[in-house]
């Protein structure tokens, strides 16, 4: 009798164990990715209510590698960049990191509108390989620099040539998109400024790349203030570039104008006095100030701890304003170059967080439309489509959302329509609990990442793609070469 009771008990125990382990094993198994895989086979196709056409590896698809500016036109500006893995000296301390041409940040590439820029990237010693992504720039797809999607990683001794026409004026930056999570934090980036054909619009033009190395805040790789000489009455443009994983606030002790956001000019910018400007991870803002006629130095504070000090003297850091400028209502409205009401693709990008497995690892992971990586949406468009995207963040944390190869215009936040200058952006600070409606024209064929620019989040699987139908990629993530875009 006792034996029977023991047997029954054992059976119940085994069934209960199975009831716990079987679903977990199934979830674990379905989260695994192959050693090497193509983004074309990842997740599920989302047509956004538009036409379903040629996709995937179907016949007639053109390779992303062939979407270039061609080879016939000679470069107007050639830049050679050598990537290295080495210790950096930041604030007197030695920290492990990466350099381009021996420095971090790498050199500022300054081009004129319309020039063909040719960048020769060589990898001297970065063990994991390297690429360069042109953040915010509408380069031809083959030049987007995403390992495993638009090219293979450049191994030690290897070289890759990036060619694109500088058609957008403004403030941009470039960074590695191979193992980007440690490489960008470690300093493998630089800045790109494209001036109008006629040259500078402001007599004093300052690039200020904000980056935190091993906890130390810097501007252009230097701890402390960046001193900029300027004469009384001069116009100064401060190009603030946030290369970190989280947003920063910028403000000044003198009225300033937000002249551009993410490279695109703001229409009719007004003077800002009691607000800070939030620059999300990967985002840029050009702040315009006028040096006071008495020559008094002014400070453009880039978060607490670093500043651009313009003019003579050493002004006291101004207190941080209590509120941030709302770009939704800043500047003067003007007509958009397209009509969002004619949108023929409507996508959702709903960001959540839930327990599960990603690549076999258990955790509380970021979800996109309820799915965990790699079961994420592949947004499919056709060239010329007008695309609307509804972003909804209910994940408990903010996410700086970045779409490659395009700028989108913000139409509304939390259902409230934009009333200011068209707010063009490529990097959007989406707070927890917020929704955004954005729109763009699909005018740059390719396969483009649409991901969180908190690069640790991207490495945790917060990456979707925008795919133009009829475009394929020969590159693969994983395998040999060992492409790891995040």
């Amino acid at each position: 009798m006792a034996d029977r009771s023991n047997r029954v008990r054992l059976v119940i125990a085994l069934v209960a164990t199975l009831a716990i382990l079987a679903p977990l094993a199934w979830l674990w198994q379905s989260s695994l990715v192959a050693k090497s895989y193509s983004v074309m086979g990842m997740g599920y196709l989302d047509y956004g209510g538009g036409a379903a056409g040629v996709h995937d590896h179907e016949a007639g698809a053109r390779s992303v590698a062939d979407i270039t500016v061609g080879t016939t036109r000679k470069a107007d500006l050639r830049v050679d960049l050598v990537a290295a893995q080495q210790n950096l000296t930041i604030g007197g301390k030695s920290v492990p990191g990466y350099t381009l041409n021996g420095t971090s940040p790498g050199p500022t590439i300054t081009a004129r509108e319309g020039q063909l820029v040719e960048v020769h990237l060589r990898n001297a010693s970065v063990k994991a390989g390297v690429t360069l992504h042109w953040h915010g720039y509408h380069v031809p797809a083959a030049m987007d620099g995403v390992a495993g999607v638009t090219q293979d990683e450049v191994p030690i001794g290897g070289e890759f040539i990036y060619r694109f026409v500088a058609n957008q004026i403004g403030t941009y930056w470039y960074h590695s998109h191979q193992v980007s999570n440690p490489q960008v934090i470690g300093g493998l980036f630089g800045t790109l400024v494209v001036l109008p054909k006629a040259g500078r619009t402001d007599p004093v033009d300052v690039v200020a790349a904000a980056h935190t190395y091993a906890g130390m805040k810097t501007i252009n790789g230097v701890v402390g203030d960046l001193k900029v000489p300027a004469k009384p009455g001069q116009q100064v443009r401060v190009r603030v570039i946030n290369t970190d994983n989280g947003p920063i606030e910028t403000w000044a002790d003198t009225p300033f104008r937000v002249q551009a956001v993410d490279g695109f000019p703001v229409n009719g910018p007004t003077e800002v006095t009691d607000r800070s400007v939030t620059i999300t991870a990967g985002g840029r803002a050009d702040l315009g100030i006028t040096v006071p006629s008495d020559g008094k130095a002014v400070r453009v504070q880039i978060s607490k701890g670093t500043a651009v000090a313009v003019g003579a003297g050493d002004p006291v850091p101004p207190p941080q304003p209590a509120a941030a400028l709302d770009l939704l209502s800043y500047g003067r409205p003007t007509a958009l170059p397209f009509d969002p009401a004619t949108a023929n693709r409507h996508f959702d990008y709903s960001i959540g967080r839930r327990p599960g497995f990603v690549r076999g690892a258990p955790g509380l992971w970021w979800s996109i439309n309820g799915h965990l990586y790699p079961h994420v949406p592949m947004y499919v468009v056709r060239e010329g489509d007008v695309v609307m995207m509804h972003i909804d963040n209910h994940s408990g944390e903010l996410h700086p959302m970045h779409l490659h190869g395009h700028h989108a215009v913000v139409l509304a936040r939390n259902g409230v329509a934009a009333t200011g200058s068209p707010w063009w952006m490529d990097s959007l600070n989406v707070l927890d609990g917020e929704t955004y409606d954005i729109a763009f024209v699909a005018n740059n064929p390719g396969i483009w990442l649409d991901h969180c620019h908190h690069l640790k989040h991207a490495a945790q699987g917060m990456v979707a793609h925008l795919m133009y139908e009829g475009v394929d990629t020969p590159y693969r993530i994983g395998g040999t070469p060992r492409n790891r875009p995040e």
Binding site: I20, K217, G246, P247
Partner: protein, 148 residues
């Protein structure tokens, strides 16, 4: 199996203590950093500012506790410890509540206070579960002698 049950329960208690230590370290590392002129904002926090590593570890390890609690429950099915399953379920529920509170604290900071307090409850129930596994089954439920 009894030993496995006891060891798993003790590991959970130990991990809860490590969790508290990580938070204590993170708070003071950040305070020291700020007092010495460092700036802590989201950008610095997400780029290896002192203490941020400990906070990330805290979040990661919290989930590890849940997995250990699941293992404890499975072991309890076979360990034949009086009320062993019940205590394993209590530990698992406490762990789940802790993760939920920790997640919700991002939305509403006062929930963080509850998260801290429930940690002590989880520590207590884990130790209690471990102690139950130590008692020999024969003397688990002694029948009191009747005094005539």
């Amino acid at each position: 199996m009894k030993t496995a049950y006891r060891v798993l329960a003790l590991i959970i208690a130990a991990v809860v203590a490590i969790q508290a230590a990580a938070i204590g370290y993170a708070v003071f590392a950040q305070m020291n950093w700020i007092e010495n002129g460092g700036t802590l904002d989201k950008a610095a926090f997400e780029s290896s500012a002192p203490g941020s590593g400990a906070l990330l570890f805290h979040a990661f390890e919290g989930l590890a506790v849940f997995l250990i609690a699941l293992a404890l429950l499975i072991v309890s099915f076979f360990a034949k410890i009086p009320h062993g399953v019940r205590w394993a379920v209590i530990v698992l529920v406490c762990t789940f509540v802790q993760i939920a509170l920790g997640t919700l604290s991002h939305l509403l900071a006062p929930i963080g206070a509850l998260h801290g307090a429930v940690a002590l409850v989880l520590f207590g129930v884990a130790v209690t579960a471990a102690m139950r596994a130590r008692k020999p089954a024969a003397v688990e439920e002694p029948v009191p002698a009747q005094v005539v």
